[in-house]
Symmetry: C2
C-alpha cells in the first residue's frame, strides 16, 4: 500500500526564482509526492499537476539576520512552509537559499525534538565508491561536546534509515587520528562519544578521521561542528569542480586529447553526475519534531525535485522517529528537555 506523502516547499529562496521551484515540484509530483508550494503566486504562474500553490509573497532568504526576520514575519514563505508541517498539513518542509532562515523557521514553528540540544544539517556526499554522511555542515557555527555526541546518533539514524546501513561506522573529524589530537572541543567530544558508543548498537565507533579519511571511506558518518563541516563540504565541492574542469580541459587541448575525450565522455559523465550536488538534493535538517531539507539556493528544477524527493523519503522512512529512538536508547537525550525553541539562537 503506497501512501501519498505531502511536502511543504518554500519557493522564496531560489536563485532562479519561484517558477523554477514550481517546475521541480512538478517533477516530484509526477513521482508521486503531493506538494504544497509557498511563494508568490503571480511569479509561480499556473502550477503543475499535483502542486498546490499557497500565495506567500514575502521572502526572507536575503535578510542579514534570518532568525530575527523569521520571528518578525510569520507570513514569510519559509515560516509558512514550516508551520504547515507543524500543523500536520505536510510531513516535511523544504527551503533553500538561506540555511539561517530555514533553521529559524524550523525552530520557531516545528520546534526541537524533546531532549535534543541543537538541530544539525546532515548531507550525504556521493564520493565515488565512498558515500559519506557529514554533519553538521552549517547549522551551528559553535557547538559543545554534548552536541557532537547527539550528532553521532542523529547521523547514525540517518545512515541506517536512508542509506540502509545496519550499523554505520561513525567517526569524528580531526587533524589527526590519535584520540588526543584536535581542539579541546574535539578532544572532549572524542571522549564523550567513545563513552556513549560502548555497549550500544546504533553505530560502530571508529574514532577520529582526518580530511583524507573523510573522503576515502574511513567512516559512513563523520561528525563535526558546523564551521569545519561547512568548510570541508565546500572544499569537496570546489575541488571536484576544478578537477573535472581540468580533465575536460585536457580532453580538448589537443587533437589526440579530443579524440580521447570523446571516447571517454560517457564514463566521465558518470563520474560528474555522481558528484553533482543537484543529484543528491541537499541536506537534511535533523533534530526537529518534523523533517526539514535544505537544498542549495542555486539549484535548478532537477535539484529542487531531488530535494523534495529526499524529504519524502525521509518522512516515509520515519527518519525523525528513528533518530529520536536511537538517541533515547543510548541515553543521549538531555535530561531536562526544553520545549522553548526561542532559547536557541541559530547561527
Amino acid at each position: 500500500v503506497s501512501v501519498t506523502v505531502t511536502v511543504a516547499v518554500d519557493a522564496g529562496g531560489a536563485d532562479l526564482g519561484p517558477a523554477e521551484v514550481a517546475a521541480g515540484a512538478g517533477m516530484a509530483a509526477a513521482a508521486g509526492v503531493r506538494v504544497l508550494l509557498f511563494g508568490d503566486a503571480a511569479r509561480i504562474g499556473e502550477p503543475p499537476p499535483g502542486v498546490e500553490v499557497i500565495h506567500a509573497p514575502l521572502s526572507i532568504a536575503k535578510e542579514a539576520d534570518p532568525a530575527r526576520a523569521a520571528r518578525a514575519h510569520r507570513e514569510a514563505s519559509v515560516v509558512r512552509a514550516a508551520r504547515a508541517v507543524a500543523e500536520g498539513e505536510a510531513a516535511a518542509f523544504v527551503s533553500g537559499g538561506s540555511t539561517g532562515a530555514a533553521l529559524a523557521a524550523g525552530l520557531f514553528e516545528v520546534k526541537r525534538l524533546p531532549g535534543v540540544h541543537r538541530p544539525a544539517l546532515a548531507i550525504t556526499v556521493p564520493v565515488p565508491g565512498n558515500p559519506v554522511t557529514m554533519l553538521d555542515v552549517g547549522a551551528n557555527t559553535e557547538v559543545r561536546p554534548a552536541h557532537l555526541v547527539q550528532f553521532a546518533f542523529l547521523g547514525a539514524g540517518l545512515a541506517r534509515t536512508v542509506m540502509g546501513i545496519a550499523r554505520p561506522r561513525v567517526a569524528l573529524l580531526s587533524n589527526g587520528e590519535e584520540p588526543e589530537r584536535g581542539t579541546p572541543l574535539v578532544q572532549a567530544a572524542h571522549a564523550e562519544i567513545a563513552e556513549r558508543a560502548a555497549g550500544q548498537d546504533a553505530f560502530e565507533w571508529v574514532g577520529n578521521v582526518e580530511g583524507t579519511g573523510l573522503v576515502a571511506g574511513a567512516a559512513d558518518v563523520v561528525v563535526t561542528d558546523g564551521f569545519t563541516g561547512n568548510v570541508a563540504l565546500k572544499v569537496m565541492e570546489g575541488v571536484s569542480q576544478v578537477l573535472l574542469g581540468a580533465v575536460r580541459e585536457a580532453a580538448t587541448s589537443s587533437a589526440r586529447g579530443k579524440a580521447g575525450g570523446l571516447l571517454l565522455r560517457p564514463a566521465l559523465r558518470g563520474v560528474r553526475d555522481e558528484l553533482d550536488p543537484e543529484a543528491y538534493g541537499g541536506a537534511y535538517l535533523l533534530g526537529l519534531r518534523r523533517l526539514g531539507v535544505v537544498p542549495h539556493g542555486r539549484f535548478g528544477r532537477e535539484g529542487w525535485a531531488q530535494a523534495i524527493l529526499l524529504a519524502a523519503r525521509g518522512a516515509t522512512g520515519d527518519l525523525v522517529g528513528r533518530t529520536h529512538a536511537a538517541l533515547e536508547a543510548a541515553g543521549a537525550l538531555r535530561s531536562a528537555p526544553s520545549g522553548e525553541a526561542s532559547s536557541v539562537s541559530p547561527s
Copy 2:
C-alpha cells in the same frame, strides 16, 4: 654570482627510512644545494656527492609528546638539524614525519622571530589554474585573532618572495563571505585584519572566502587556524586522489573507455603531476629566525629533493627577512617581543 646554500636535513622521520632521504638529498645536491644530513649513518650508508652525513641515530618522530621529546633529547636528529641552522652551519632545516617535533625543535633551537606570536605552517597547493597558499595547516590547533593577523603578513611575504606576486590577495577562510560570518575567532580576526590591511601595500585584503573560493582562485593566500587548515588541506588531497582514481577507473572500464584513456593519458598525467604533493615539497615553517620546511613523512626521494630545494629557494630569497620586514612595516609585530621560546607550547 651563484652562492651555494646549505640545508640541514633530518633523516629521522621518513616512513621509507633514512636511505630514501639520502637519495633525495643527493638529487638536491646535484641541483646545487649543499646538504647536511642528520641521521643513523649505518642506515644511510654511503652518502651521495654533495651530502655530508652527521651521525644522529636518535629519532623522535614517533614520540607521542614531541615537544617534551625535543626538550629532553638534544641529540635527536631533528633537534641537531635545527641547531645546525641556529648556529649558522646551514641556512634552513628540513624535517618530515612529525610536525610537532619539527615545530618544537625549531622553537627551542632556532627560536621565534622577535615580535612573532606563533610560527605557522604555510603550504602552496598547486590547484590547476589557481595555486593558493594556505596557512596555518597544522602548527597551531588553537589561535587568537592576533595570530591570524600575523599569518596574513607571513603568507603575503611568502607569496611575494616565492610566488613572485607583487601584491598578493589575502583572504580569511570562513563559512560565508559576509564579514559577520564565522566563529567569534574568525569574526574578530576579520575585523583586525581589515584594520591592519588599510593603508599598507604588503597585500590586498579580499575578506572572507568559503571552501569553494579557496580552490577557485578567490585569493592567493588564505589564512586559517591550524585545525581548519589541516582538515581543508587533507580534504583537498583526498578528493584529488579519489577523483583521479575514478577517472582512471572510467578509462579502463570498457574497450571504448580504454582507447580514450590511452589517448588522454599524457594530458591526464599533467593534471595528476600538477596535484602531486611530492612535486611541491611540503610546507614552510614561518615565524622562526631561520626557515624550516616540513614535507610529508611518506614522501619518496623526489618529494625529499623538492623539500630541500624549497628550503634552498626560501633561504636564497630571504623569505624570513622579507616576512619580518612586512610585519614590522605594518606594525603587526607584538609590542613586547619575547625571546622565550619555551613559553610557547606547540600543539
